[in-house]
């Protein structure tokens, strides 16, 4: 699987990234290259700093030091909306939707920027054919056509997770960061989510943080293991399984899910 990406250029490049909260170092020198078009999973024990790493890449936190490049452009000092406009979208571990808007409105708001409507005063959104068509397509992709007029805040948990992914992918970003997309889902729901992620990530670069090893080994082209703020290994899934450092980090838990 990974061979086809071997020569691809680096889409997301982290160099010697550090993040401290007060005196506590959370990310301690992460360097990582995510290749264009690959599905890259980041795994690691609780508290390893996976979500913090995502928050640094997405622009929610500024790194203490180090650099982040998206397709060669330095983004580590940009605000989230500027990073998004350069083609990187992310989802959240704790569902982060627009609760009082309908499902349809949630998605339609998420397609506006990428279609170039920006802060427009001149368009009536109900008459924007491209925005409404793309919204319909995304709703179909995430399987929520029947729920389009429901207020997002009263959806079931699994539906909100699907909507979370829908919002993330609606804007056609080149790089997608998914933070534990299957957390809290039943087996069947997680399987559906994996299919969804597989379909939405084709033609894009995907970085995913996930606890479910079944999902990780099923989806990922390469896996990075983050332990206490450092990457201890980056490799193809099969090689990660055999890696003694990784096995030590996951002492007591099985990597053969």
């Amino acid at each position: 699987m990974s061979e086809r990406h071997e020569n691809a250029r680096s889409m997301l490049q982290l160099r010697d990234l550090h993040k401290r909260f007060g005196a506590t170092p959370i990310i301690r020198g992460v360097s990582l290259d995510i290749r264009e078009g690959e599905r890259h999973a980041i795994i690691g024990p609780n508290g390893a700093g996976k979500s913090t790493l995502f928050n640094l890449i997405g622009g929610l936190f500024a790194p203490s030091s180090g650099s982040i490049r998206l397709a060669g452009e330095s983004i580590e000092s940009l605000a989230p909306f500027e990073i998004y406009r350069r083609g990187l979208a992310r989802s959240f571990q704790v569902t982060n939707i627009f609760p009082r808007l309908s499902v349809y409105e949630n998605i339609r708001c998420s397609v506006l920027w990428s279609l170039g409507y920006r802060y427009s005063f001149r368009h009536d959104v109900s008459k924007l054919r491209d925005a409404n068509e793309r919204t319909d397509r995304v709703l179909e992709q995430i399987g929520m056509v029947a729920r389009r007029d429901v207020r997002a805040g009263i959806l079931t948990y699994a539906e909100q997770r699907a909507l979370e992914i829908g919002i993330t992918i609606a804007g056609d970003a080149r790089v997608i960061l998914l933070d534990e997309p299957t957390a809290g889902m039943s087996r069947a729901e997680a399987a559906r989510a994996v299919e969804l992620i597989r379909s939405i990530s084709s033609g894009r670069t995907l970085v995913i943080v996930e606890h479910d090893m079944g999902v990780v080994f099923d989806l990922a082209d390469r896996i990075s293991v983050l332990v206490y703020g450092e990457i201890v290994a980056t490799d193809a899934p099969a090689r990660i399984r055999e890696n003694p450092t990784v096995q030590a980090a996951y002492l007591g838990t099985s990597l053969h899910a």
Partner: protein
Amino acid sequence: MSSASHGTGASRRGRLRRWAAQQRAWLIAIAILIVLPHVPGLDGNFGRSLLSQMGIAAVFALSYNLLLGQTGLLSFGHAVYFGLGGYAAIHLMRAINGGLPIPMPLVPLAGAAAGLFFGMLFGAVTTRRAGVVFALISLGIGELVFAAMRILQGFSGGEEGITANRGLGPHPFGLTLGPQLQVYYVIAFWSVLSAALMAAFLRTPVGRMCNAVRDNPERAAFIGYDPVRVRFVAFSVAAMFAGLAGGLHALNYEIVAAEAVGAGRSGAVLLMAYIGGVQHFFGAVLGAITITWLQISLSDYTTAWQLYLGLFFMAAVLFAPGGLSGLLSMHRPIVRTRAFLEVLKTYAIAAVPVLIAAAGAIMLLEMNYRRATQPDAGARIKLFTLDLDTSTPWPWLAAIVLLAMGVLLFRRTRPLVERAWERAGAEARAAGASREAAR
């Protein structure tokens, strides 16, 4: 496509009919606004002046709801833009009085321009943060501008205000703005136009993002939008329409004084938007009509009217957080059920103890208020055509008994209302399910 481009008479009529169907609510509203000042009771100077004030309040409250209801910004200083718009308009009116050839009905546009200008000026600072910080800064700017208006006597006329004459200037189409009816129609025109423009604003991409930023500013940033910029746009637009309302105020009263930018007016518009209901666009209009009517009619009956307004606001916050429009829309699903009539009947039954309790409460309030504020007037008080001697314990006792009886009886009638609601709800659900099955 081809039939549309040929534009035959038939298809043009068809399009006109479709457009009329889409805009039905607006067309009905316009028809009502045209007829209202000729309805008996409202066809005098008092009625027409009341309607004019309601129109002004409606534009102001709608503009406030762009902030609170649509963008989630709680402002304690929205009157700043109303008042500064009013000042811009009154100064333009004076210039017209001095010979500037601009028709008076266009004066509110000067208010809108001033509102927009100051909205952008202050908004650039205040919209950096939402929530409590925004609310407190808005309060600070409100106090600042109010103080400035009292100091800058030459510009503002201070507490006495600054006057102009709306009748002195060019009179296009014979519009002298002498009769209140003409003023009313000018105000109604600008009110409808403002409401339509605000509704249209909410349908634009940036308008939709106002709702998104209200719900979740963090996520809005992760779909490409700068929440600060969205808030700034909403704030500027709201300030512009507040300024237009201020311009209407100048035209209607021919005077603008420092109170126009004051905290009292900022509080009143918050009251209107909230009591009307912030979740629905037209809730603000409902609130503006109700509060304006209460302000004017209550003050005819009692000097303690602000007390009642406060109580009304508290009751609304506690028992109807969705406001009047929330109460109304709550009934929408059950309106077509057979049990709805029963719900209305139980409302009528429950209204009796409420009125009894209210009578007791009003007696207590009025007797206390008059004894405290007008001790010279003596112990005898006229209330509800009754002659009460407050030096004896009997009126006090009667008031307490009425209040207690009303509260107790209301608690008995409440289950009646709840049961009727349950039946209506069940019926509506069953009807919904069978419609679903039929599909």
